[in-house]
């Protein structure tokens, strides 16, 4: 029987080398994420959350183990195929938005679509739809410097979803926002998950943010805690 898991990590290790020292970041990670799930990944600084996210998004490679996402073993792909795979399957949301400052909101959102064969007209249509979805209708021609932090992150989310990716990965998407904007962004992610059935893997420090997810994972010193245990730890931490 075929697995329903969109993300499958098996015995994944990641070691960084600083000077001549080995720094193990991830140790024997086994992880499954089902299609349509909203998973939060928590853990202290340096626990390997972002590294794990990068491995799932195909922008870093494991030292050992297998990463399989959207039916593809990422270790088998050549750089050009991996880039094409990312364009097709991954929508990435960064903590610091990382919009291109010299492009307008709509031009930023259009970037992933430039890699497709869509006509300019079709691209424009999709960009406007994505901006409407994140509540930024009317701000198409604004440059990032003309937007608030919350609005910039919405543009980044629109850019992440415009290509209709299989998986959205978000690296502390509310880390640079005030409470109100953070709540709005989390609500938006929740809507994307519930209404559009988008699978989301979100790294966060914030237990309130993690509450929005259907499942919370905890990573500590490169080791993933059991799911149930993770949920208990977070709940305990809040009480």
């Amino acid at each position: 029987m075929e697995s329903n898991d969109l993300v499958e990590l098996r015995q994944v290790h990641k070691i960084y080398y600083r000077d001549r020292n080995e720094v193990p970041v991830l140790q024997g990670i086994d992880l499954d994420i089902r299609q349509g799930e909203f998973v939060a990944l928590m853990g202290p600084s340096g626990s390997g959350k972002s590294t794990l996210l990068n491995l799932v998004a195909g922008i870093d490679t494991p030292t050992q183990g297998n990463v399989r996402v959207a039916g593809e073993s990422l270790g088998q792909l050549k750089p050009s195929k991996l880039a094409a795979w990312r364009a097709r399957h991954i929508g990435f949301i960064f903590q610091l938005y990382n919009l291109i400052p010299v492009l307008t909101a709509s031009q930023n959102v259009e970037l992933p679509l430039l890699l497709t064969r869509l006509s300019a007209k079709e691209r424009k249509k999709r960009v406007l739809f994505a901006l409407e979805l994140v509540g930024l209708t009317g701000r198409e021609k604004h440059f990032p410097r003309q937007l608030s932090g919350g609005e910039e992150q919405r543009v980044a989310i629109a850019r992440a979803i415009v290509g209709d990716p299989t998986l959205i990965v978000a690296d502390e998407p509310t880390g640079d926002l005030d409470a109100r904007n953070a709540a709005d962004i989390l609500l938006l992610l929740q809507r994307l998950n519930r209404e559009l059935r988008k699978t989301i893997l979100m790294v966060t420090h914030d237990p309130h943010a993690a509450e929005r997810a259907q499942r919370v994972l905890h990573l500590d010193k490169g080791v993933l805690q059991a799911d149930g245990q993770a949920r208990r730890i977070e709940t305990g931490a809040r009480s």
Binding site: A84, R86, V102, D171
Partner: protein
């Protein structure tokens, strides 16, 4: 095409830097075109030379004249089908900086030997009929706004005094290589005005021969004829004469090529540095693009494309400006470069050079951007 907007947007983020880079490339290519045109304008006289024309001058030096009496003997040399002669006048118009070539020519015979010079028949007749008249090249007429009927005063340096000539014709060259910056007047007019001791001397004889293959034999015959006289001759093809004339200034071509290459090379190093800086400043953005799925090859083309666009803009500006400026100003370098015209092939070479500069200056930053590790780049910033 859809990526051009991205390239242009990136270039416009630091407008001043982009402008200065384009400007420095434009200056380098302007200088390249100018120096290259110095060489091609020298070469124009060689290109305009006829293979069936020989030049006879004094065997010791061009500055020593030959007797007029040689004319009849040259006419009788086997293989010679025509003879004309003339003297370099070496004057200026109003001010010493207004230099251009003036030749006193034997008018009845000159047009038979220089068929590449075209003049309307009525103007030719008027010129031939009037001893104090002259004809001028089209470029010279344009430069000084002279027209038929004007009187042109020329201050002589080799032949002192003010000489006044009435313009009776404006000639054109059959090809672009023909010098249109010269004034021709009657040799007889010059000769009769000279003191007795300077009369009946000729600077150069031009001989027409039946076929280019006869050049060596005819030259030998002419020089042998005057070998033991007090004024021996040196006869050579017009092409060899022009080449020898140019070589008198030294190996200008090599010197100018070295200077031109040095300028272009120096500007290229500056451009490489600028493009590397520009790419380095955008490390995070490049990592973001790669995260979105932009392949290494596409990133390489985008970053390289910026350098190429900047260089091509600079090249078009510099080469275009050079072509325009020298055309509009009728620059002749004080009469030293009568054919100072930026050739289309010079502009093309300049633009190709600019493209090469673009490729070379974009190569290092483009490769470095293409090989950027996303995770490493993001870790440095986030």
């Amino acid at each position: 095409m859809k990526y051009v907007r991205l390239i242009v947007a990136n270039l416009m983020r630091a407008k001043r830097r982009t402008f200065l880079t384009v400007f420095s490339i434009a200056v380098a290519l302007f200088l390249f075109c100018t120096l290259r045109t110095v060489i091609t304008s020298f070469e124009a006289s060689i290109r305009a030379s006829e293979a069936t024309r020989l030049v006879v001058r004094h065997g010791a030096s061009l500055v020593f004249p030959l007797p007029l009496s040689y004319r009849d003997r040259l006419t009788q040399v086997q293989g010679v089908t025509g003879v004309t002669y003339g003297n370099w006048f070496g004057g200026f118009y109003q001010d010493p900086k207004n230099q251009f070539a003036q030749f006193a020519m034997d008018v009845p015979t000159m047009f038979g030997l220089f068929p590449e010079t075209v003049i309307p028949p009525d103007q030719l007749r008027a010129f031939q009929a009037e001893r104090t008249s002259c004809i001028i090249g089209r470029a010279l007429a344009r430069k000084y706004s002279w027209k038929v009927g004007d009187t042109v005063p020329i201050i002589g340096t080799i032949y002192p005094g003010e000489w006044r000539f009435v313009v009776r014709g404006i000639y054109e060259g059959k090809t672009q290589d023909v010098d249109e910056n010269t004034l021709f007047f009657h040799w007889d007019y010059l000769n009769e005005s000279l003191p007795e001791g300077r009369k009946n001397y000729v600077g150069i004889y031009w001989l027409r021969i039946a076929s280019p293959s006869m050049a060596a034999a005819v030259s030998e015959r002419v020089d042998a004829m005057f070998q033991n006289s007090s004024q021996p001759t040196k006869t050579e093809t017009e092409k060899a004469f022009q080449a020898g004339f140019i070589s008198m200034i030294g190996n200008v071509q090599l010197l100018l090529t070295i200077i031109g290459s040095a300028i272009v090379f120096a500007i290229m190093l500056v451009t490489i540095n600028t493009m590397m800086m520009a790419a380095r400043e955008r490390t995070t953005e490049i990592a973001v693009l790669k995260t979105l799925g932009f392949s290494n090859g596409l990133i390489l083309r985008l970053v390289g494309g910026e350098a190429l666009l900047v260089s091509l803009l600079g090249g078009l500006l510099g080469c275009g400006l050079a072509a325009l400026v020298f055309q509009k100003t009728d620059f002749t370098g004080g009469g030293f470069f009568p054919n100072f015209r930026v050739l289309p092939q010079t502009v093309l070479t300049g633009i190709l050079l600019a493209a090469l500069m673009g490729v070379l200056s974009g190569l290092a930053p483009a490769i470095s951007a293409a090989h950027l590790k996303i995770a490493n780049a993001m870790r440095k910033v986030v």
